[in-house]
Symmetry: C4
């Protein structure tokens, strides 16, 4: 392999931000279907890796709700224990047990303050003061996270399960299909596709290269329904003369990057995915997703048909 080739490869490799070792050693796909990377970092100190902000921002709403409920119960339990420890004279009203103290704590933290139970001693009042501050700060943090989660745009683009090698003009093309699952409009959507594969003429099994694939169309102005992204296998294509077996032999992986402007959030959004060689169907095409036009002329698309493909013969590469 000449120095020039080496250089080109290094460039494209670096383009992905993967180190050479990752590219050469990995026996797993680099990018998972859900867009996450198959790499991990360690060596961060505990607090650095905790990354609480990112964690609470990206978890599911159900889990987020679970955390709030859990924290609410624990904080009240702690304060209840403190009130119990302060003795039976600390609070006026109610029974002097943990349950009463717990409910008093809730009246305080939630700032209800019925007054059927109230703090009497200096110590109890100090604990109430602390609890009110904990409540203020805690609610601010909960509100802050809810807001941050609301303000955070997430593209909800669904990819077809399989990519296909389909007939295209006089030859063939690599194609996959995406739909917008949301009501919100995405405009100026751009696609980038890179082919990651072991080099065909590579010295060892683990030499990998990353090749950008030229697309018939790199962006769409609107994305109201579906978009079939097409890489024509022409004279310059790295897939020229390739067979289905070649794809498998080379551990080929198609890395997909999408970015567009989400109108609901008025922000730029990114999505990633990939197709491994085993997810590419050789000699197939996508069935139309459009329903027959309705009587009033309205066009509808059936998103359940996103993954539907049918076998077709394709010309030799």
């Amino acid at each position: 392999m000449s120095a020039v080739e080496e250089h080109v490869t290094e460039d494209v490799n670096a383009d992905l931000g993967f180190g050479a070792v990752v590219a050469r050693e990995s026996r797993r796909r680099l990018l998972n279907r859900d867009g996450s990377f198959n790499v991990h970092r360690d060596g961060l100190r505990f607090w650095e890796s905790l990354s609480a902000y990112h964690y609470f921002l990206t978890m599911s709403w159900t889990k987020f709700l679970g955390w709030i409920i859990g924290a609410y119960i624990i904080v009240n339990a702690i304060f209840a224990a403190v009130y119990v420890l302060l003795g039976s004279a600390a609070l006026h009203g109610g029974k002097h047990d943990f349950a009463s103290a717990f409910f008093f704590s809730i009246h305080t933290l939630a700032t209800i303050g019925y007054g059927n139970v109230s703090p009497v001693t200096f110590a109890a009042n100090v604990v109430v003061a602390v609890e009110s501050l904990v409540g203020l700060i805690g609610f601010a943090i909960v509100y802050g996270f809810v807001f941050a989660r609301f303000a955070r745009p997430t593209a909800c683009i669904r990819f077809s399960e399989k990519a296909v090698i389909a007939p295209y003009k006089d030859g063939r093309a690599f194609m996959f299909r995406i739909v917008n699952q949301r009501e919100s409009q995405i405009v100026n959507l751009e696609a980038t596709v890179l082919l990651s594969r072991r080099k065909k003429g590579g010295v060892t099994r683990v030499d990998r290269e990353f090749v950008p694939l030229k697309l018939e169309r790199e962006s769409v102005v609107f994305f109201p329904l579906a978009w079939t992204i097409v890489h024509p296998v022409d004279a310059e294509s790295p897939l020229k003369h390739w067979t289905a077996e070649d794809l498998m032999d080379c551990d080929a992986e198609f890395l997909i990057l999408l970015n567009g402007f989400d109108e609901t959030f008025s922000q730029t959004v990114h999505t990633r995915s990939s197709y491994a060689a085993s997810e590419v169907v050789w000699g197939a095409r996508f069935r139309s997703m459009f329903n027959p036009p309705e009587e009033d002329g309205t066009i509808t698309v059936d998103i359940r048909k996103l993954h539907e493909i049918e076998q077709v013969p394709i010309p030799a590469g």
Copy 2:
């Protein structure tokens, strides 16, 4: 039709993100005046299509307020029913009817807690604890939506009701006019106009093509008042030699895309609209929107004149 023509058409078609079927079959306009698309998706599962976030973010403030009031009443009614079910010993003070329980619930959910009514039994206290948490989370969600609605920029650009084919230099031009309805400044406003029409020489009635129209000016640095967007009908224009009848015959539709930077929100904003053939007045021009300069030299524009046009003869195309 040659392969080259086919290719060009497909390209522009795809440029809009509409599938070929939409472009060929639709007998309705593609883009409504308010910028929404005349297409629909189905096949999404119930929860996916629910899209609550998008719904609450984009509904009118009146409707949003209605939802809050409705939810507030329903939640309190549910808790009131629970307190009633817990029996007359559950709450101390007040009458032991639904109304009292409902008002007690409000004192609790809103965290007022007068204490004229207060929970006595363990069960009642547990319900109070649950209600306080429901209140915390519910308020966080309401606050979150209010913030998200406040933080979401929406361009408020009004389009002239009609577009015109007006005299322009030695020939004529397609023109429409827009004004900024808001106090906020929009800067770097860009316009894109596409002509969608059945092909003049098309094989069937339903062959559609999308042609970008060259504009005299594609963007303005400032947009303090009004902007007349002009497509000169020159030698390269797809409207060359066309008549008003040709427009109607071909189901022509002018698709408009605007994007700019809103200074109040400090964010990029997008607006869409379209003019159908029946909304284009042949042989007319826009009247000036400017009032006579005031004594102190201040310039004013009368937005009520946005739609005013007057008939004028135009040279042959």
Copy 3:
């Protein structure tokens, strides 16, 4: 005037988004020193022109605080009046006068609920329910505005009071100076300068043209301190061979546009200003704003010197 000239002028004119009438008729400056435009819109319906959101977002904090305090007092006074109207049996505890009702309303709206006064009748409880909802929604709106104001970036760039025509290399240049008044860093700051003037050879006094001025440097990567923006008066400059009198005679106005990326807000920010002919000092240069380096080598700049200029002879244009 030939058709070509006409066209060029129209273009630049439109570039500012000012209509021809504004450009030709205005006897006042187009852009005020604070960046606002000297134009006004009317014809908007009351609600459209109200633009409450923009109003509350851009007013001063003092005024915003005044609005909150005023609204708080008025809302409580209204509810107090209602409680008084409900009769002396409506509330238990306190005196049955307006003052007591007003304070009870505050305990309710602010969700304090001491309980020393509490609602007794069904009607009073209904009003309490309404007030609690008004409080919830009102607080959400106040919080929303505070957040939106906090999240809204505003570049705080101060312009030198005067622009100068200063010596520059072998000739001269138009210059003005800006400083960043904030601790926050602005990066990738770009400047655009347009000269607006009555045409020298224009047929009537009111023919105006807008000419972009070429800058020695159109952007800076960082803007930690000060930046002197320089338009060299070279062979292509529209200011070539001009005198101070020419500037005044032509009602020249230099329109300034700045945009950059604010690191504190992580958002793009825009600033506008302008220099009228009377604000340009002919034959002067800016004094250095830098203090002598401190003992430890730290560089400091004295922002009070921003406006300091000194007379210098300049070569003929």
Copy 4:
């Protein structure tokens, strides 16, 4: 020095937004390792320089929490003092000392309102009304800051402690290494590197120039792990024929600018840093950060190895 050279230098100098004085006089590094500038402004009026917003937005969370706790205690203490001044009749319930008044103030400000202590006199009720408003506004400001802090993206990119001059192809290169410390993905990361140095052939010791360094690769699409940024010392490099001593003699400083798109925040983020001559190791290279691939093929990187370098011989420049 010719006029041409002078011009070029001025240009690049201005490119950084540093004035000529800064560039010529400073004996300290311009940009600190943490990205802050070694320059200071004075002459701002007190309120302008206060910059409270920027201060509360960028301080650490610990400090921010300290401010909230401090403000909470002070505000309650002030109101407590006022209640005490109003005399023993002002409040009903509790002892009539400062502690009781302080706790009553907390019950009021936090909107708990147990009612065990309650305001009696008109004056006390007015103070309660004021306190409730102070609470509303104060909480809105605290919430606002928490949201603004949450919504503010901060890239957390760690730079290697040292940069190196390492072997590269047939020659050598200036290199440094960065890692993403966060879970969040940064995409489209771009790097800019400028060399600041006293001119080799300069007339005086203090003539400084700023030279952009050409990078082997100016951006990466993804940044999941680490990126080594490389400036090859080729024929055009300003480092050609330089030795380690030359670097020190010229007070060389490498200024680094990074910007990318943070997926968690969906916003553009910027980071700055610099390497002084003393932080560049001559004849060294970075050790691999990758751990041996795990059994399942997962790739891991050990961030503790970020700074690890090893001595290697390098060819002459």
